[in-house]
């Protein structure tokens, strides 16, 4: 089956990059101010937010076994709420806030992992049900009225720019990219993750603690999503319930557009970030089109189809 995949990933990342560039050029042609440094900066910031939301998603999709995490949005929301409340606008509270956010994300990830590994619930439904549980817990906890705000330093990173075209968030994004790629490419864990995604049984027989590797992927996904929520309130500077809800499907789309196969075993965070840039740039471009919401949705879909037809085509079976 996969003999066809020779060098496939490389092409797809390259193509995702090219499409992203093409979108910018196309956007610039339609509307010169699209290419203003300020606008590029704001697209990058939003893309990085989506990229954060899709970080954990990347890991669980790579882990294979129909891996997917639909709790990303709910965990982000919870992370945002906890972050805002704990930071309460004080720099001195950043560390406790981070710890709490990480802990809560890890806990939810642990539940997901337990359900998937021990109760053998398929990931899609497990994480979907977990998302609803987390949302409800968040509502019970806050009674719909989360309080607090990001610490000044965090708000600064979340919403200010180093250069007009370069938000601090993008700098953070690069750090996360390096970290993620480091984990995936340079650590034993990363290689084991690819291994179980590619052939779970073979990895297990070779002595990989396959269940643990997969479980950790879900726990990491919880942590990363929760941290994404942390940065979401840093970016927004204000908190409300269900802030992350809108990120669920786009996070999956960003991962897949970035060349990570839903079958597991291959993919990269570089691709995910490029996928995020593509989705964000497209949305940004659509905002200025002269049509109503219905038209925007139709055009959004059509452009996506065009892009997908250009570069996510799977090779034919016959070679």
């Amino acid at each position: 089956m996969s003999k066809i995949n020779l060098n496939w990933r490389h092409n797809q990342i390259l193509m995702a990059g090219l499409i992203a560039v093409a979108l910018f050029i196309g956007g610039g042609l339609i509307n010169t101010s699209f290419l203003s440094p300020a606008n590029i900066g704001s697209i990058l910031a939003m893309a990085v937010l989506l990229g954060f939301a899709a970080a954990g998603q990347t890991l669980v999709v790579i882990a294979g076994g129909e891996g997917i995490d639909l709790s990303v949005g709910a965990v982000m929301s919870l992370g945002a709420v906890l972050a805002a409340q704990t930071m309460a606008g004080q720099n001195s509270n950043i560390l406790p806030a981070l710890l709490l956010v990480i802990l809560s994300g890890a806990t939810i990830g642990l539940f997901n992992a337990a359900g998937i590994l021990y109760a053998r619930v398929p990931p899609l439904v497990m994480t979907m049900a977990m998302a609803n549980v987390v949302t409800t817990v968040q509502l019970i906890y806050t009674h719909g009225s989360p309080v607090g705000m990001p610490a000044p330093i965090i708000a600064f990173i979340g919403s200010r720019r180093l250069f007009p075209f370069l938000p601090w968030l993008a700098v953070l994004g690069i750090i996360v990219l390096i970290l993620m790629q480091f984990i995936l490419r340079r650590t034993v864990y990363g290689q084991q993750l690819y291994a179980i995604g590619s052939n779970y049984n073979a990895a297990y027989l070779a002595g990989v603690r396959a269940d643990a590797v997969k479980g950790i992927a879900y726990i990491l996904s919880g942590i990363l999503s929760s941290l994404a929520g942390f940065w979401l309130i840093a970016y927004n500077n204000f908190v409300f319930v269900n802030m992350g809800a809108a990120y669920v499907l786009p996070s999956v789309a960003a991962v897949v557009i970035g060349g990570t196969s839903l079958a597991g075993g291959e993919g990269s965070y570089t691709g995910t970030l490029l996928g995020s840039v593509i989705l964000t740039a497209l949305a940004n471009l659509l905002v200025v089109l002269h049509t109503d919401e219905a038209g925007r949705q139709v055009i959004n879909g059509l452009v996506l189809i065009l892009l997908l037809a250009l570069y996510t085509r799977q090779p034919a079976i016959r070679q």
């Binding site: 359900g115 109760a119 409800t136 779970y200």
Partner: protein
Amino acid sequence: MIRLWRRLRLSPAAPGYLLLLLGIIVNILVQGPDFFTSYNFNSLLAVNAPLVLAAIAQTVVVLTGGIDLSIGSNMTLVNTVAIALTNQGHWPVGLSWAVALAAATLVGTGNGLMVAYLRIPPLLATFASMSVVGGLALWIWPKPGGMVPREIYTTYGAAIMGIPVAGWIIIAVALLWLLISRRRVGIYLRAVGGRERSAYASGINTAAVKFFAYTFCGFITGVAGLCLTALTASGDPKIGQMFGLNSVAAVILGGSSLAGGWGSIGGSIAGALFLGLINNIVFFLFRNYVSHVQSLTSVASFYQQLLANLIVILGLASAALTQRGGALGGLGRRRRGGRTQHV
């Protein structure tokens, strides 16, 4: 009996049936004998038929290893087209509804083209078409309104020969599926989902099979959309939203594997009904017990969702644990403990 049990455990639908059984038992426990009233059955089927049909539609593409995220938007499209044509275009109802059904089938065809011939990964292709179709629905019928002739929605809610009309529709669609699945294409759908390369190497036109699956999925989605229209007796550009992911959930609850090649319509029907039963269970639990407890009432509504989702997880876990893992392939089944291989 034992043989039946063994056969059931081998069937992909096993988790679905088990869940449904579990759901019914718990429902009887909280609701009492009222569960068996025909009113209850009627309403359960009438309200849940759209999801049941959406789940059937989803199963067809999931069998081929695909997924259709656009089912929800497509149902909305059917609803808005049917309503707009009768209420604005003043077309006869029959014709309007036929056109709506055709539109849904056409959406399926579009998805089929993208997946089978352009070879775009299904999740992405239908993610994109979800946006196009949702936009179209919004354009056709931008705000809730319009109506369906009384005869239609009262008929939809009624029963014929003791079986609710919604039940008959489900039976008809299931029979249609039976007619199809007993033909070669029925095997080919599972073959393509099970291992596309093998199916292709066996001389099967795999692209055509996938194309058919999405088109057929579109058609059933159309029927689901019409049922939704009959149920709600009106048009609303946001009405179908929840059906996309819910149908996927129902299919998985019914024992199908998203990896393809493994699943059954029966399981999905059971999975969808189970989701409907959960609403019932939660409703009666709160109505009969919780709402009398003064200290709980102020927070009660939060706990409904919590409970509903815990039931989903518990139900799933119990169904998964009773299902044989061996069908998932090879030596895994001979391993120790609860492990199965995830191929």
